[in-house]
């Protein structure tokens, strides 16, 4: 058989985005099963350079919180066009205020207010302190009121002036909490959290690491629930007339006001809503970190989500979600935690990606070539499955555990169902990357096609038809 290399190369080129997405999120986790790399990857995991299940859970927690944060930014800046470079202002305020409200506030020996009573509840096997959540929501509501006042003033500023003010505000806040109000904000050390969100279930015999793992998993459940609710609310807003009006304001303010739209009312309202959800994200982030520190106000926090949203596709909500998950989840999996001492490399890589995207996909991944989009959606789904598999019963603790089910039906490899396979079907060589071992067990071509269609990747994967 004579090989037509040009044809093969074309086939590869046609699928280039798919292969890119594949490498980005799917191939890397399976490296420990590779023949040459495997042993070193396994060693890396055992000594903590590559993440294990607890790390994965924490990454998911942070990613979910950042999704809330990024979506709130996208609603304000992507939709209404009021570009904020300092959204971390609300993140930090949310973090500090939620902790203060929950734990009470002392200035010197003087008690300003006592804090909230512990309120332990048990929902679906998760034993948690409801007052922490109440404090987060109350704090966010107060910050929304603050945003109403500041927004009324600063939203009068146009474009770059507004952006400049938002850039400065978190810097001022940072100085206030570390230097000027240090007495009750804890200065550089920040406010420590003493009342944990997730409590030890009564009568539980778990101890040490097992208890810790359980609590981490339950924390993930709570945070994901928060993320889903918050994002759903903002998504509904964005998809309604309300969101459409915001877009009209972004596109042409004067035309909007000539059409009877009260531009400043809409701007202030979206500012308030956005600040509310950003504060919720701040409150949750403080819970994950175990304290509220001035790091919450860092410009890096603001820029991070701007980059995520731009990469995903600004002004689409979905873009912010995808961007945050793909980048934060996938990249912190491999880069940040891979090079613990080189955290700045994350910023470097995001920056480079941003330049590439702005050059080649200015409207974000969400508006990108369908192949690239598919492969990334697909990659995100797989990242999730990967997480399920890695942490076992992570999300819905004892009721539904997808990992064994998936293994049962999708075949078992050393790492579950990921892998590559090269095999023969009806006299043709077929190379299947993604669901390798799974597909390998399906003989008839039709079944493969159906399965691939179900995954939604048929167009980009396809069968490999060598020329006769």
């Amino acid at each position: 058989m004579k090989l037509d290399w040009e044809y093969y190369w074309d086939e590869v080129k046609k699928r280039k985005f798919f292969i890119f997405g594949f490498f980005l999120v799917v191939l890397l986790p399976t490296m420990d099963t590779w023949i040459f790399l495997g042993p070193s990857v396994r060693t890396a995991q055992s000594v903590g350079i590559m993440p294990d299940s607890v790390t994965t859970s924490i990454i998911i927690q942070k990613a979910a919180i950042l999704v809330i944060f990024a979506v709130s930014w996208d609603l304000l800046s992507g939709y209404s066009g009021q570009i904020s470079f300092g959204h971390a202002l609300f993140l930090g305020m949310g973090g500090y205020l939620a902790v203060m409200i929950r734990e009470g506030l002392m200035i010197g020996d003087q008690e300003v207010f006592p804090g909230m009573e512990e309120q332990l509840v048990d929902i679906g096997g998760i034993y948690f302190d409801l007052s922490v959540i109440e404090a987060i929501i109350l704090a966010s509501a107060l910050i929304a009121v603050f945003a109403l006042v500041t927004g009324t003033i600063i939203l009068r500023l146009k474009g770059p002036y507004f952006a400049l003010v938002t850039l400065v505000l978190p810097l001022i806040a940072q100085i206030l909490v570390t230097k000027i109000w240090g007495d009750f904000t804890g200065g550089d050390g920040g406010l420590q959290i003493t009342s944990q969100l997730i409590q030890k279930p009564p009568g539980s015999t778990l101890e040490g690491l097992d208890l810790f793992k359980l609590q981490i998993e339950q924390m993930t459940t709570v945070i994901l629930t928060f993320a889903i609710v918050c994002v759903a609310i903002m998504y509904l807003l964005a998809r309604s007339r309300y969101g459409l009006v915001l877009k009209a304001i972004r596109e042409d303010e004067q035309a909007a006001s000539s059409s009877g739209i009260n531009v400043s009312l809409y701007k202030v309202s979206v500012f308030v809503i956005s600040s509310f959800f950003a504060s919720v994200a701040g409150g949750l982030l403080a819970q994950v970190f175990g304290s509220s520190t001035s790091a919450l106000f860092e410009s890096e926090r603001s820029f991070e989500i701007i980059i995520f949203s731009i990469l995903g596709g600004i002004g689409t909500i979905l873009g912010a979600i995808i961007g945050t998950f793909v980048l934060f989840f996938a990249l912190s999996y491999y880069i940040k935690d891979g090079f613990v001492d080189l955290q700045t490399i994350e910023v470097l890589i995001f920056g480079l990606l941003l330049i590439i995207i702005i050059r080649y996909q200015p409207r974000g991944l969400i508006n990108a070539d369908p192949q690239l989009r598919n492969s990334l959606f697909f990659g995100v789904i797989f990242s999730f499955l990967m997480a399920f598999y890695d942490t076992g019963n992570m999300i819905i603790a004892s009721t539904w555990n997808p990992a064994p089910i998936l293994q049962k039906y999708l075949g078992q490899g050393e790492r579950g169902f990921f892998g590559m396979d090269l095999f023969k079907v009806q006299g043709r060589m077929v190379l299947y990357f993604i669901v390798g071992t799974v597909i390998g067990y399906y003989g008839p071509e039709l079944a493969q096609k159906i399965r691939l269609r179900l995954w939604g990747v048929w167009p980009s994967l396809g069968t490999f038809d060598p020329p006769k």
Partner: protein
């Protein structure tokens, strides 16, 4: 006596010394179609901008259905039932044509934050508005572009969408700034017929800026104001304006 829909008294606006609009007076009676004509830079668009609140006027008085609107923000003036187009069409470019038409209608449930969370509350109203939008698009012969982004339209098509946007707004007074510049002849005719028809059916009052005087004199307009160098040089029915054409020529002849 017929009711006055729009009354302008002593309207003036200068841009750093240049008197763009200088002491303009006119009354637009209800159900009337009025033309505002004049050469380039004579202050027609600025008159529109000051009436609608886009640019604050220096002095004068503007009353919409008897209500003083000077100094009020554009959206409040618009909510009194006055809608306008801009000369250089200002569509919302990243919105589709259909979405562009969906913004102007007043009292939409879905525009409030609380209702926005309950899609079932506004779906029915939205459906009706979409139907209305398609009727208008069909009338303007651009319904095939409904799902396209406004940024993908040609200049003439943009003009049409802009008019469509106006027709969606339920306004009682329509102010059109050169609505048919760049629109093909037969369609121009159709747009004028439609405007006249709507005026009868819905009791609309219409103010049109037109560059081409011959053109507007042929369109059966009730009342014409001629501007030059920011001043109002003629104000009357078309016949009188036609008779004074020589005068205008003399005035603008340089």
């Amino acid at each position: 006596m017929t009711e006055v829909a729009l009354s302008v008294r002593g309207l003036s606006k200068s841009f750093s010394g240049l008197k763009a609009v200088n002491n303009i007076h006119f009354d637009l009676k209800k159900n009337e179609i009025m033309g505002l004509i004049g050469p380039n830079g004579s202050g027609k668009s600025t008159t529109f901008n000051t009436i609608t609140g886009i640019i604050p006027a220096d002095s004068g008085s503007v009353k919409v259905f008897g209500e003083e609107v000077m100094g009020r923000p554009p959206h409040e003036i618009s909510s009194l039932g006055l809608s306008r187009t801009f000369q250089n069409t200002r569509l919302w470019r990243e919105l589709t044509v259909l979405e562009n038409l969906m913004i102007p209608p007043k009292n939409q449930f879905g525009t409030s934050v609380l209702n926005a969370l309950m899609p079932w509350k506004y779906k029915k109203q939205e459906g009706e508005l979409i139907e209305k939008a398609y009727t208008i698009l069909k009338l303007l012969e651009i319904e095939h572009m409904a799902e396209n982004y406004a940024s993908e339209l040609s200049g003439g098509q943009s003009k049409l969408v802009d008019i469509g946007r106006l027709l969606m707004s339920d306004a009682k007074i329509l102010m059109l700034d050169e609505p048919v510049a760049g629109v093909a002849g037969p369609l121009t005719e159709k747009i004028f017929q439609t405007l006249k028809k709507l005026r009868k059916e819905l009791g609309l009052t219409i103010l049109i800026i037109e560059h081409n005087m011959d053109f507007i004199l042929r369109k059966g307009i009730d009342h014409i104001v001629v501007m030059a160098n920011g001043e109002e040089i003629l104000n009357g029915p078309p016949d009188i304006v036609r008779q004074s054409l020589d005068v205008i020529d003399a005035y603008l002849g340089e």
